[in-house]
Symmetry: C2
Subunit: 425 residues, 2 copies
């Protein structure tokens, strides 16, 4: 079980978490719990580091920020004990959770699960601070923001857990953002690949890295809410969304537990920006001149379109980058203007990427054309298109985001049948 910062914000909420955990244990399960720091605490600690040293040493940054999860792990163990439930905390260096690569964005290499399993077999609940690990040099590391999801999946893999329940402030994965479409439905299950595509295009329920790890390690993940739980209606009566392999998904469909859909969900992402370079010489290597320096600066280029320009031998190149990197990308391209040989840079942050995602696409044609015609019918202009095996994404004007999401949710038959609304109007 993993609980996020909102669930751990203060001793009262930790008591609520302890009750959820205790009921799982009372149901005959051996339980390990991974916890985040109290909401706001990591920000407070990061801020201290910035004040201390603008160019902070990530090794010392890790020492400071890892303390937030240390506190909540101790407090949850104490609270479980107060409910009569044996429990103890296992810090990153105690298990240990071995990590490699850089401080502040370490990667989990391997976890020693044997001590944990032995303790759990005695009926003791193991409480593990998320986000933290131990470097090869014996120093404290952290996994980068949101790393506690990854800690939870990694611990689940290390101890061969039947399931990794990730409690968060939403109660599952929806067909689309319920704040935009009231008829959005909670999904009983999605595949790892669908979840990866949904997460990477803006449906931020789980950290992307944790989903990738779950897929590779075959950990069955459930996303559910810690806020629907009480003694009258425990969380077990409010199942969330299971994230499973394609094989398990097929079994669930065959058993009739999950309905087979062509499209599983619709995501939107307003955090991209568009860059157009005009009149780039249309010769071998010119595109490399554009994208090599961006790649080296770790600026993630997503969609790329090459249009034929007005004059022969020239072309306009359009691509998207994260909005946060736009200024840096623009400066870098201007520095290389001669080398690349473009005429003008045009940028636009008022764009949105809308994606339809579903493993059903693998075996069905026509998904993309449904998308294009549904958007065209409402006069929504498509600026660019990319596709993968289980996803079609289009770039549109940001102002049309909500309209596009509603139109597509209806077009793919995802609207919940039993609610009344005018979301698609």
């Amino acid at each position: 079980m993993k609980f996020g910062g909102t669930s751990m914000a203060g001793t009262e909420r930790i008591r609520r978490v302890a009750n959820i955990v205790r009921r799982q244990a009372a149901g005959g399960n051996q339980v390990a719990v991974v916890v985040s720091a109290m909401a706001g605490e990591t920000d407070r600690l990061v801020n201290f580091c910035r004040e201390a040293n603008a160019l902070y040493d990530p090794a010392e940054y890790d020492v400071v920020v890892a303390s937030g999860e240390q506190v909540t792990s101790g407090l949850l163990a104490l609270t479980l004990q107060s409910l009569g439930q044996p429990a103890r905390s296992w810090l990153g260096w105690q298990l240990p959770i071995h990590t490699v690569e850089n401080h502040a964005k370490a990667l989990i290499d391997r976890i020693e699960g044997s001590g944990l399993v032995a303790a759990m077999e005695t009926g003791q609940i193991a409480v593990i601070p998320g986000f933290q690990g131990l470097s090869e040099e014996g120093r404290v590391t952290t996994l980068g923001r949101g790393g506690s999801d990854t800690s939870a999946v990694a611990v689940a893999a290390a101890i061969g857990a039947d399931r990794c329940d990730i409690y968060t402030d939403v109660d599952g994965v929806y067909t689309t953002d319920p704040r935009i479409v009231a008829k959005a439905r909670k999904l009983k299950a999605v595949t790892y690949e669908e979840m990866l595509e949904l997460a990477s295009v803006g449906a931020k329920v789980l950290q992307t890295r944790s989903v990738g790890l779950a897929m590779r390690a075959g950990v069955r993940v459930q996303v559910l809410s810690s806020f629907v739980d009480d003694d009258a209606t425990p969380a077990d009566d409010h199942p969330g969304t299971m994230i499973v392999s394609e094989d398990e998904m097929n079994e669930l469909v065959e058993k009739g537990e999950v309905e087979r859909q062509l499209v599983t969900g619709i995501a939107h992402d307003k955090n991209e920006a568009k860059i157009i370079l005009t009149r780039v010489p249309d010769r071998p290597g010119s595109v490399a001149h554009i994208f090599d320096p961006l790649a080296k600066a770790a600026i993630n280029v997503d969609m790329i379109i090459q249009n034929v320009g007005r004059d022969k031998g020239e072309t306009d190149v359009t691509f998207t980058v994260p909005q946060a990197d736009l200024a840096r990308a623009q400066a870098m391209l201007n520095d290389r203007r001669e080398e690349i040989g473009f005429n003008r840079i045009i940028t636009d942050s008022k764009i949105a990427k809308i994606s339809v995602v579903g493993v059903g696409m693998k075996s069905h044609a026509g998904v993309a054309s449904t998308m294009f015609s549904a958007l065209a019918e409402r006069g929504i202009n498509i600026q660019a298109i990319t596709t993968s095996e289980i996803k079609v994404s289009v770039l549109i004007d940001e102002d049309e985001t909500e309209l596009a999401v509603r139109v597509l949710h209806t077009a793919y038959g995802l609207d919940a049948p039993d609610t009344v609304g005018d979301e698609a109007a």
Copy 2:
């Protein structure tokens, strides 16, 4: 160097500390720094533990509260780096600082100093969180409140430091409380034994345990303030009080650096309470009936006086206990009333203990009689007396505390010559 919670309260104050440390290093010294948590932080964490579990497990309590020093050690390392000074933090489990005995009040067993010394020899400043250690079972321990002073002395002993400078919010040890006597003088040096007596009777500059450890390990300790320091007048120009062995003290006196005094300081303690048991049978073993249960309950009995009672074969027994333990002691004695056989319990919290302390007493008689006659002259009634080799303590009415301290400060010639005031009037 050791810095307390007031000195570490916030990133601005930590920058001030970093400057003091950097100047020590710039002076050609190898420096290790022990830090407390930010003022108020340990209370905040202890409070979380209480809220989580009133009967908290000290092992998990230690996990929670040790995080405060972890944060400040990382922040001081970061701040030193920002000043161009290489530095790194060494957590209790990393050195490690091996501890024994109970969680929440662990005792330092031994410290592995070799890694620290090797790093310090490269010019890197070692920053060590105080208060924390590692148990034999590999778990986080803490030393009890105020334990950071002990950590500092223990680290100094482990690395064979020339000096252990303890920065606090006072600038040294005074002949008496300067809030009571404006003519109080800062002492250039006191002996370990004097410091122990002064600390144990209310002059709370250093944790008593740390002074005992310094004495056993022969660590030269200096108490000084982190608040008198700036670039114009660095702390080195504001020396504090050295705490040294009696041999070194004699050398300082012979060199004329310190004046030989009969009495070094005058301390007062308002935290005791008096208990009188009337008409206790005057037979063998009756006193044991009183004090054995109190000792077993870890209630520290200080002064004991036995008066002859009104009737033959009976006696009144008077003794003092810490005010905080008075209710518990009273209940415990009432429970054993039959067994002990006393008539009434009379208690009084409105008392104070006044002590004159000085190694000079060892070789000079008449110190006690000077005390008694000076107090008698002002009509101050002495309720009880205890003495040790270097201390005479009397119990008086609490209302007369300040008067008594002033009278004795003058009587032993401790008033500073160059100030004008009427403290002794």
